[in-house]
């Protein structure tokens, strides 16, 4: 009897060990797919990366690394399309969807900046598709995810300005250039707002500030010069 008890216990231990072994083997297999996915990502083979990360997610849908890798792969594909000036709306929708799922399984802060950027791109793609798209919630979410995503601030300010809320737009541009003095677009757009209401002096102030911060930027250089010449002309004409 005692012998049987000892054997039963031994077999129980073996069963537990075998289960641990199977789990460990599955983990090891998943790890192999993860590694392959990451390698594919690094060399720009995004389709293969998607295949490998999807394999892992088929076995383990909550695998954070695989989900992040998949989201990154979609992101990279969408961004490549952006550069080719192709329609990217569907790609950014897919990317945002993966990041949204990722946010459920990943409590870390690591993926938030990229999720934030994906939302910015999605908002921009939606506007490109339809200028009347309601993208403000996406941009607010983007800024919430990454308060240093000045691209989303910039786009939000542009939309506000388009809606006539130029004061709010100016505040946002001013905030951007204060926090990120190398953000050329914010200088351009802020100067634009002043130029449109014929405040050439303020426009020159902003563009020249931008030109000083970014002397190599051709747009800022050009409009600084135009504003400067305009101011000179106005002085010569006695209008200023």
């Amino acid at each position: 009897m005692q012998c049987r008890v000892v054997y039963n216990r031994l077999y129980s231990i073996i069963e537990v060990l075998a289960a641990m072994f199977v789990v460990a083997v599955l983990c090891a297999c998943n790890q192999g797919d993860l590694n392959r996915g990451d390698e594919a990502l690094r060399i720009g083979d995004y389709d293969r990366a998607i295949v490998n990360f999807s394999k892992v997610l088929d076995m383990e849908p909550t695998n954070r690394d695989a989900r992040y890798g998949l989201a990154i792969a979609y992101y990279a594909i969408a961004e490549d399309k952006e550069r080719l000036k192709e329609n990217t709306l569907a790609f950014w929708e897919r990317t945002v969807r993966e990041f949204k799922i990722l946010s459920v399984v990943d409590s870390s802060e690591k993926s938030k900046p990229m999720y934030s950027t994906s939302l910015f791109y999605l908002a921009r793609a939606m506007l490109a598709e339809n200028a009347q798209s309601k993208v403000m919630p996406l941009l607010d979410r983007s800024i919430q995810l990454d308060p240093e995503n000045y691209f989303s601030y910039n786009l939000k300010a542009l939309i506000l300005a388009g809606q006539g809320d130029t004061d709010e737009a100016k505040k946002i541009y001013a905030y951007i250039v204060t926090r990120e003095p190398k953000f050329a677009s914010a200088y351009v757009n802020l100067g634009n707002l002043y130029w449109n209401v014929h405040d050439y002096e303020s426009a020159w102030d902003i563009w020249s500030m931008g030109h000083e911060a970014l002397p190599q930027d051709p747009v800022l250089a050009k409009w600084t010069r135009i504003a400067e010449d305009s101011l000179k002309a106005m002085v010569y004409s006695g209008k200023l």
Partner: protein, 383 residues
Amino acid sequence: MKKSEKSLLDSVTGGLLLHKGGEASIYLLNVGSAPYVLKWYNDGFSFNENVIKNTNKLHMPGLYRIEEWGKRNESLYLVYDYVDGIPSDKLGVIPVAVALVALRQVVATLSLLRKQGVSHGDLNPANVIFSGDGNELRTVLIDCGIVGPGALSYAAPERFQGKLADEKSDLFSLGLLLYRWIAGEDLIKADGFEAFAEQMTNIDSVNITETLYAKGFFGTPEGAVQLAALEPLWSGLLRSGLTERIEDFDELDELLEIALDKVVHGEIALANCVTQYAKSINRPDCDRNAVLKVPNRLEKDFPFAVHKKNNWLKWGALGVSILILALIVLLLSGGTMRFGIDATGDQLLKRSRVMESSTEIENTPVLKVDSLLLDLPVPASEQ
């Protein structure tokens, strides 16, 4: 019951039957290339566990070393270190001087045992091993703690009456043992328990000196001296009455010393005698290196099965554990993967957010300064 939880029997790789007796079978074991002796008791026979425990605590050169005892397959067993030597029942006639020297050694061991409250209980030639290397003669006592009278040819009369072994009964047995060594045969020969009991009880009537003389070994003047020297020993040891026997081992040792003085003149002569005998039994070609004959396999009729399965399970479990550990280490080392994916993400994000120079939208007219006042251009908004 066992001395240790891990049984030596589970590590046995070979076994050889040395002797099959009424009380037990004796096997020579190969355990991790070291020789051990297994005493496997037959049904109805056992040992005195208290004696075994006390003996186990003792470490003395003249006494065997018990390693383990217990029960296996419903049979009692005892495992002790193999003693490299020859059991004295295999030696035939031993010179008187050598027999006296050997007996003194045995008495010294028994005296120490006695101080631990242990009486041997089964003193017979098979339980005294003549060991030693080259010129040295050393006796080692084995097989303490028997339950019952022990070897009937050497048991004291009171042992047949069921009394436990004590110093007096051991002294009686020593007398018969000495006779056996000197004469080369047992003094008492009988058939069955009752016959032995009767003869032992009547041993006072046996004239041992005459018996020895009749064997023809002591016909010389030197032999006569030896017989005379031995006489006090017979009269002190081989007595059925306890009070007539020698008092204790110390007294016996004194008598043996006196006898030795009479038998051999001087220490040098004694040393020569012992050395010569030791050489004769320690010859390389003699049958003492039984350990070399221990096979690396178990005989078919070995009394128990070695649980190699347990070892297999242990090794299997150990192997799986090591494998799991290796995988865990692998996973941990692969844990940098998390940073790998994160690093890839950071890299892509950095590329996305690079602060490129702002670009003018296409077809923006290059404006002349003098037209500014008339038609101010609107710079392209940048996202």
